[in-house]
């Protein structure tokens, strides 16, 4: 050990370079492990801490006894808890407010959330526990005051995390928790209904049985939706899985690169000291002893460097990773991260030790007489004509070591390609967040104004063009579950939205349509086919498909046409005016000018506002990892040059003796570097371009950008459909539904459970279905056409497409609690007799009719 230390001290530059390489690779590894481990285990950690139930059931308001009687009869139930969820209430604090508050009125029993700051609710006093996203966003904490509509100022006593939904503001709904008992004390006696059930099972593996039984006894309970813990995990995992896969792949590349370079360095070192190896063998050192000396030296350098690198990498991404976890309502790994980092340390040490000991082992296997002469296989020179001067000599020297050059070029090219790809992905995410052109939009503002005012808007300085843009959420007439977005501009839509044309041609008349690839794939439509769309008004319009476009927006489930037929079908259709700005014009300036003439323009982004923040976090994360990877790339280049300089010490000395100055030496080294960079650059660019053409980066960006989180509380949702981009067929039966209700993803069977107030073809069919169920709320009827829930698993039913099987429903989740305000009484019997005061939280007595 002492001798090894002395040898290392004798060549500090080389030792420092080796340490830098190990540290850079470990930094990459540490960053990847920190993010991957955090994301991979974040949900389970949060779910464990929060005591997340195995099953959450949501339904329209019911009396507690009605539900509890049935739940008690279910098998495999360990515990149950009930809540009343009230949505669309106003919350305000610290000068911030939202109309999309969701109050979860909890009762005694298990909570299903983890208090991460402060304390839980007591049964007395006006207290509230708020979700962490709200606390972070509004700067609230225990001791603060939250103004809740109907309750007034309420003291915040705790901050909670519940991983059954993402955090505010990624989820547009801010969740707060109130105590039912405290509310009853405040407003007097009464019985509040419940609309959420939290269920814990003895054996989560047998949840299917519990679910099946629950469905069997669900007659009369309307708008019933189930959300399983596994389903939440799957959905969150889809988003996190992409990031994890990227990071693991890139960190493996970085580690392989570093090992390659370390191996090359070790081989050079052994080669340089071949005579010493021979001497050691000659005086009796065993082969293992020789390899051990070199491996030991490497470990002395590698262990501290690896520790520093892993710590550095972990520290660099801890903040963005933590933000990401907070956004997903998950908990950071904390000290649990030490275990995987420790495993990484061991792995790195083993890899480095082997990579450095192996060349010595091989050298020690040669006859000592040969190694004593320092025998070196002469380099087979490439018979290439190189430029004259030191530069050309450098090129020649670098190219003489073909294997070394190939290794260095591979490392530099791969690392550069990875860095470029990650930066490109980050840029793409930024674009999706900020730049409407990233989704093919060429307009930057929209104005809610009649079409007649388009000319007036176009005359505003800084506006290049303005035209009415009609947007209709429709559904395929033949498959009502397949929703689509119809966008119409009078004239040429490419002036305002120009997704690339993939097949066919641009539209030329009112009867023609260009459809997105996503729609083409999901409906099996191609150029020449007919798109029949059901409009919300109930009318149908038909278009001839003349082109397929590569639209990213709405997962490609979009159709571009002219407004003639749409207006014929629905004369009441109101457009927004799309505003394209002159080049170099500030959006803010034009916004001000439009406001001055009484219009209220809205900025157009690539992604939704709530997703924008999430995309920003992901882009930051990718950039951080790219920066670390760039270090590996830089190290590979420096290491290759250092090896060249070390190996060529004699050559450089000869050059110096024949009149080469420092400039010439630098030129030689520059030539050597150029040989690698020149070969690596085109390869890295081609790799990066090729990988961009692969479906996964685009799909990843699409998935990440397309995540739509349920705007209602308790709803996760619903990123699955967006992950379809690039696939031939959609994997699930999720469909997108807006229907003027809420911009979120829902499973197709969700329509069946929607209230009759929804005006859509799908809803219309569902309504019929539901009415039947209501007329005959018997178990048998419920099985054939359940009220609001999935029941039939095999063939399409009247409920807008076939519901998924139970197993599929695990991966599904609804957008959240029903879309109705607390005060709305939409039913006429049973628990709907509950009346809530419209202006207060005072629960009304339950009518026990």
């Amino acid at each position: 050990m002492r001798e090894a230390l002395r040898r290392l001290r004798a060549r500090p530059g080389r030792s420092a370079l080796t340490a830098a390489g190990v540290a850079a690779a470990c930094a990459m590894l540490g960053a990847a492990v920190t993010v991957s481990y955090g994301l991979a285990t974040g949900f389970d950690r949060a779910a464990e801490r929060a005591d997340l139930p195995d099953l959450i059931a949501r339904f329209d308001d019911e009396r507690l006894e009605t539900i509890d009687d049935r739940v008690r009869a279910l098998p495999n139930v360990e515990a149950r808890s009930y809540r009343l969820e009230v949505t669309d209430i106003r919350l305000a604090a610290n000068g911030r407010s939202t109309e999309k508050g969701a109050a979860q009125v909890v009762r005694r029993g298990r909570r299903g959330y983890a208090v991460v700051e402060g304390r839980d609710l007591s049964e007395r006093g006006a207290e509230v526990v708020i979700e962490r996203g709200l606390a972070n966003e509004w700067g609230l904490g225990p001791g603060g005051t939250l103004d809740i509509a109907g309750l007034g100022p309420v003291r915040v006593v705790g901050v909670a995390v519940a991983p059954d939904n993402v955090a505010f503001p990624l989820a547009s709904t801010a969740r707060v928790y109130l105590s039912n008992e405290a509310l009853l004390q405040r407003f007097g006696e009464g019985e509040a209904p419940v609309n959420s059930l939290l269920l814990w099972t003895h054996d989560p593996d047998r949840l299917d049985e519990t679910l099946a039984q629950a469905r069997a006894v669900s007659f009369g309970i309307t708008n019933l939706r189930f959300l399983t813990r596994d389903g939440v995990r799957v959905l969150v995992g889809q988003a996190a899985g992409i990031v994890i896969a990227l990071l693991v792949a890139f960190s493996l590349i970085a580690l392989a690169s570093a090992v390659l370079m370390l191996g090359a360095s070790a081989r050079t070192d052994v080669q340089r000291r071949l005579a010493q190896v021979g001497m050691l063998r000659a005086i009796g050192f065993s082969r293992m002893g020789v390899a051990g000396r070199y491996g030991g030296e490497a470990l002395i350098v590698a262990v501290p460097a690896a520790i520093v690198g892993l710590a550095l990498g972990a520290a660099l991404v801890t903040r963005p990773s933590g933000r990401l976890l907070e956004t997903l309502n998950e908990l950071g790994p904390g000290s649990a991260l030490l275990a995987p980092l420790g495993a990484c340390l061991v792995a790195v040490v083993v890899v480095v030790g082997v990579a450095t000991a192996w060349p010595a082992w091989r050298a020690a296997g040669r006859p000592p007489a040969e190694t004593l002469r320092g025998a070196d296989a002469p380099a087979e020179a490439l018979r290439l004509r190189s430029p004259s001067g030191g530069f050309g000599l450098g090129l020649r020297l670098a190219m003489a070591r073909k294997a070394r050059l190939a290794g260095s070029v591979a490392v530099v090219a791969t690392a550069t390609a990875v860095v470029l790809l990650m930066l490109a992905l980050a840029g793409l995410l930024d674009g999706l967040r900020d730049d409407p052109s990233s989704v093919g939009k060429r307009y930057s503002l929209t104005v809610a104004a009649p079409a007649e005012r388009a000319d007036e808007v176009a005359a505003v300085p800084g506006v290049e063009a303005a035209a009415p843009r009609y947007l209709v959420q429709g559904a395929d007439s033949f498959r009502l579950g397949e929703t689509l977005k119809v966008v119409a501009f009078p004239g040429d839509h490419t002036d305002f939205e120009a997704p690339p044309l993939l097949a066919g041609r641009r539209l030329r008349s009112d009867a023609e349509v260009e459809i997105g690839r996503g729609l083409s794939q999901s409906l099996g439509l191609d150029v020449g086919g007919t798109l029949a769309a059901q409009l919300p008004s109930g009318r149908e319009v038909r278009f001839r498909v003349v082109g397929i476009v590569g639209a990213i927006d709405s997962d490609g489930r979009v159709a571009y046409t002219r407004p003639g037929r749409l207006l014929d079908a629905d004369p009441g259709l109101r457009p927004a005016i799309a505003v394209r700005l002159s080049p170099g014009t500030s959006r803010d300036d034009v916004t001000g000018r439009l406001a001055a003439i009484g219009l209220a323009p809205e900025s157009v982004g690539g992604a939704t506002t709530s997703n924008g923040r999430f995309l920003g976090v992901l882009a930051d994360l990718l950039r951080a990892v790219a920066a670390i990877n760039a270090l590996v790339c830089l190290y590979a280049l420096v290491q290759a040059l250092a090896l060249t300089a070390t190996e060529r010490r004699g050559t450089l000395a000869v050059m110096r003796s024949f009149g080469a100055g420092r400039r010439h030496v630098l030129l030689v080294l520059g030539g050597a570097a150029l040989a690698q960079v020149a070969l690596a650059a085109p390869r890295s660019c081609s790799e990066e371009r090729r990988s961009r053409r692969w479906p996964w980066p685009r799909r990843s960006a699409c998935c990440l950008s397309g995540l739509r989180w349920g705007p209602r509380s308790g709803g996760l949702p619903l990123g699955t459909p967006s992950c379809r981009c690039g696939r031939d067929r959609p994997r699930s039966r999720w469909s997108r539904s807006r229907w003027g209700c809420s911009p979120r993803w829902r499973p197709c069977w969700w329509h069946a459970g929607q209230s009759a107030s929804r005006s859509s073809p799908g809803c219309a069919r569902s309504r019929r279905c539901r009415d039947r169920g209501r007329q005959a709320p018997r178990a048998g009827a419920a099985r054939s056409c359940p009220a609001g829930g999935p029941g039939r698993h095999s063939r399409p039913s009247c409920c807008s497409g076939s519901p998924p099987p139970c197993s599929a429903q695990r991966g599904s989740s609804d957008g959240g609690a029903s879309h109705r305000p607390w005060r709305e009484d939409r039913r006429s019997s049973g628990p709907s007799a509950i009346r809530m005061a419209t202006a207060s939280w005072r629960p009304a007595p339950v009518s026990r009719s």
Binding site: P378, A379, A381, L393, L397, S657, F658, G659, G661
Partner: protein, 237 residues
């Protein structure tokens, strides 16, 4: 005309208790067309003297003038120019660059300046003169020791230097090849009118040298060629 004029050269290597004075006021004059052999036991400072004469190292004190240039007063860049134009080195282990062919090794100094085309022409003439044309495109590891040394000599002459410094040129050659190398050096001095300083252990060198000096206790002491073998064989003091 003296190509080399060195006076009172002093040089100490190492520091502290390990310091060792290897030149202690050495004087040396070498004229054009003269071949001077410097003999001495191992560690006496012969190679150090050669490096100082060639501008690869600096003396602690004393003056040294080569081809009219005061080396002790030259800056680094000027010394680089000096090495490029005024001096040529021949090494014991040849130090040919393994990736370059024999001819490319000969032309190596022309990559760093000089008179380009003329030097290249001269290099090819030297290859012809030294009988290396047939192996000019060969890589060093395919050449014999003698051929490698001849390429190294051609490389030392390609920039037409006034002074050629040879460090143990026969040390890695067999008798026959060593004899050829010494004859070549002799012809470089006599035929080309260059000054040649030869540092060697080889007693045969004395037979081809115009003058033999021994480096003894830091001083250059003239010897007659007949004493050369004694100088080399003398025990270290």
């Amino acid at each position: 005309m003296a190509v080399v004029r060195a006076r009172a050269l002093e040089k100490t290597v190492g520091a502290g208790r390990a310091a060792r004075r290897i030149l202690a006021g050495a004087d040396l004059d070498v004229h054009a067309g003269e071949l001077v052999a410097v003999l001495g036991r191992s560690g006496s400072g012969k190679s150090t003297l050669l490096h100082i004469l060639g501008g690869l190292d600096r003396a602690d004190s004393g003056s040294i003038e080569v081809a009219g240039l005061r080396l002790d007063l030259l800056g680094d860049r000027a010394q680089v120019d000096f090495r490029r134009h005024s001096v040529g080195f021949v090494f014991q282990f040849f130090h040919l660059i393994p990736e370059l062919t024999g001819e490319e090794n000969v032309l190596l100094p022309t990559r760093f300046g000089g008179d380009g085309a003329r030097s290249a022409r001269r290099g090819r003439e030297l290859i012809e003169r030294l009988g290396l044309r047939e192996v000019a495109d060969s890589l060093p590891h395919t050449l014999s020791g003698g051929e490698q040394q001849r390429f190294a000599m051609a490389r030392a002459l390609v920039n037409d230097p006034a002074l050629v410094l040879a460090d143990e040129p026969t040390g890695n050659l067999d008798d026959e090849a060593g004899r050829v190398a010494l004859d070549l050096l002799r012809s470089i001095a006599t035929g080309d009118g260059r000054a040649v300083v030869l540092v060697t252990h080889d007693p045969r060198a004395a037979t081809v040298a115009d003058r033999v000096v021994a480096l003894d206790a830091g001083l250059l002491v003239p010897r007659v060629p007949a004493d050369a073998a004694d100088v080399v064989a003398a025990p270290a003091r």
